[in-house]
């Protein structure tokens, strides 16, 4: 076995040894090392304000309003253009965020600890569907929901996870693949398991018992009439919100996947991809043995199914850190476990099996934690090898949500997207130096 093949075996071994456990929740500026008051994190590789796409700009504008640094769009634009705020990829701080992935200093974040390999990773709270910050929307409804998430939802979950003594995220992903999820675009099972695991502790929290409190309230009457007039306890509201949103678990799942990818990073001679991410303008990858260097190329526009009233010309280029799931062998790589996903992204169940089968062509190993019952419990394809991507001319398969290209609108559909081959070729050139 060559030294590169040996290095790749070591990288995927570390990736699969990682044991991410959700241990806490905290304020970004207090728990993410290096986070500061004028720093906003975003999805994907580095980018300047002038090159940001509509949805990312929208999320930055919303973040500035949420932080109280701007009162309106014009004020936020002025601050963003001034250079007063620093922008940096979530990945530079061991964090990840879906879609625009904007994490501001005051936001509460999931804290995931790798109990096997050491270290911490982070992600923000998931806001649900429709008009949300991560898709670039920032009206009063969006800002009010963010306040509820940080001041009530996160407070309850923080107390609950302390009572639980931590939640094993890897176990949730493995079980969810047996229940029809891919752990990226289909999260009904991951979220059900997530709720089932934390619910007993949520109802035990002191915060959760409150019915009358001086913090923002969220209108949950869309979940049930019962929640009208703010009579329910915070615990009941938190559980109702979690139940209303299949993506409740996604951000914590992503942080867990980041933990696995991080474990595989920094192996000398390895050609395994340890980061894939998009900022709505560029797609970027990083490779285990090439340090912090990004290889980037213009992101493609996803193709898929659009919500009523929207069309393909409304779609922004590919955006988000959620492709960290594919980086560690789930998401689009585990589509065969989730044939029902085609209702959401288009295609047929046979396409789901084709997608997974094709990914074995470009990966190092079969995962020993995540497997697919309908494929005789074969491990998911894991550890993307840059050499194989270029040699076979097969790029990683990615499932994704689709954001409107203009700021302030939100999600318009979901589908599939191909990463650009150029960045894998650039990485190959760097590896061959």
């Amino acid at each position: 076995m060559s030294k590169i093949d040996q290095a790749n075996q070591e990288a995927v071994k570390k990736m699969m040894m990682s044991r991410p456990v959700w241990v806490d929740i905290g304020k970004a500026s207090e728990v993410i090392p290096g986070m500061k008051d004028n720093l906003f994190l975003h999805a994907g590789p580095p980018i300047t304000w002038d090159r940001m796409s509509g949805p990312l700009k929208g999320a930055i504008i919303g973040g500035l309003i949420y932080e109280g640094k701007a009162k309106d769009t014009a004020g936020a634009n002025k601050i963003a253009e001034s250079g007063e705020i620093e922008f940096s990829p979530c990945h530079h701080y061991n964090a990840v965020g879906p879609m625009a992935g904007v994490i501001t200093p005051s936001q509460q974040v999931f804290i995931i600890e790798d109990m096997e390999m050491g270290g911490y990773t982070y992600s923000n709270m998931n806001e649900g569907y429709g008009k949300v910050l991560r898709y670039g929307a920032y009206d009063d409804e969006v800002i009010n929901r963010l306040k509820w998430l940080d001041e009530v939802y996160a407070a309850v979950l923080k107390e609950a996870v302390h009572l639980a003594g931590g939640i094993d995220m890897k176990s949730i992903i493995a079980q969810a693949l047996h229940m029809g999820d891919d752990a990226h675009n289909r999260n009904r099972a991951t979220t059900s398991l997530f709720i089932r695991t934390i619910a007993p502790f949520i109802v035990e929290t002191e915060w959760g018992k409150k019915t009358d409190y001086n913090a923002p309230r969220l209108d949950l009457s869309n979940v049930s009439e019962y929640f009208k007039n703010n009579k329910a306890s915070a615990a009941a509201e938190v559980l109702a919100f979690m139940h209303s949103n299949d993506l409740t678990s996604l951000n914590a799942i992503m942080a867990a996947c980041k933990s696995m990818a991080l474990a595989a990073h920094g192996v000398e001679h390895s050609t395994v991809v340890t980061t894939m991410a998009r900022n709505g303008t560029d797609f970027g990858i990083r490779v285990s043995s090439t340090g912090d260097k990004w290889f980037t190329a213009p992101a493609n526009v996803p193709d898929g199914l659009f919500f009523s009233g929207f069309k393909s010309s409304d779609a922004n280029r590919d955006i988000g850190d959620s492709v960290i799931t594919e980086t560690v062998g789930v998401g689009g790589f585990a589509m065969a476990a989730a044939p029902a996903i085609v209702n959401f992204i288009g295609g047929s169940p046979a396409d789901a099996f084709d997608a997974t089968n094709e990914m074995y062509e470009i990966t190092v190993t079969e995962n020993n934690n995540f497997n697919i019952p309908a494929m005789d419990f074969k491990g998911t394809p894991t550890g993307i090898d840059v050499r194989k991507v270029v040699e076979k001319n097969i790029v990683p398969r990615i499932n994704t949500g689709i954001a409107h290209k203009e700021p302030g609108i939100g999600q318009v559909g979901a589908g599939i997207v191909k990463p650009p081959m150029e960045m894998f070729i650039d990485a190959l050139k760097e590896l061959a130096k």
């Binding site: 060559s2 590169i4 050609t271 050499r387 270029v390 040699e391 076979k392 001319n393 070729i425 190959l428 050139k429 590896l431 061959a432």
Partner: protein, 53 residues
Amino acid sequence: MDTLFNSELKIINIGLEGFAETLKERGTEVMHVRWQPPAMGNDDLLSLLDKLK
């Protein structure tokens, strides 16, 4: 040749899928094998891949 074309054809198509599709449309059973030249046939990329074996 006469024997070949007068018997049931068992066809494996390698590479360009269009040939397989045309045969399928005519009702001929065909198995398609996805294949393309390594590294898109690019000599520079092939030499880089050789260095990284």
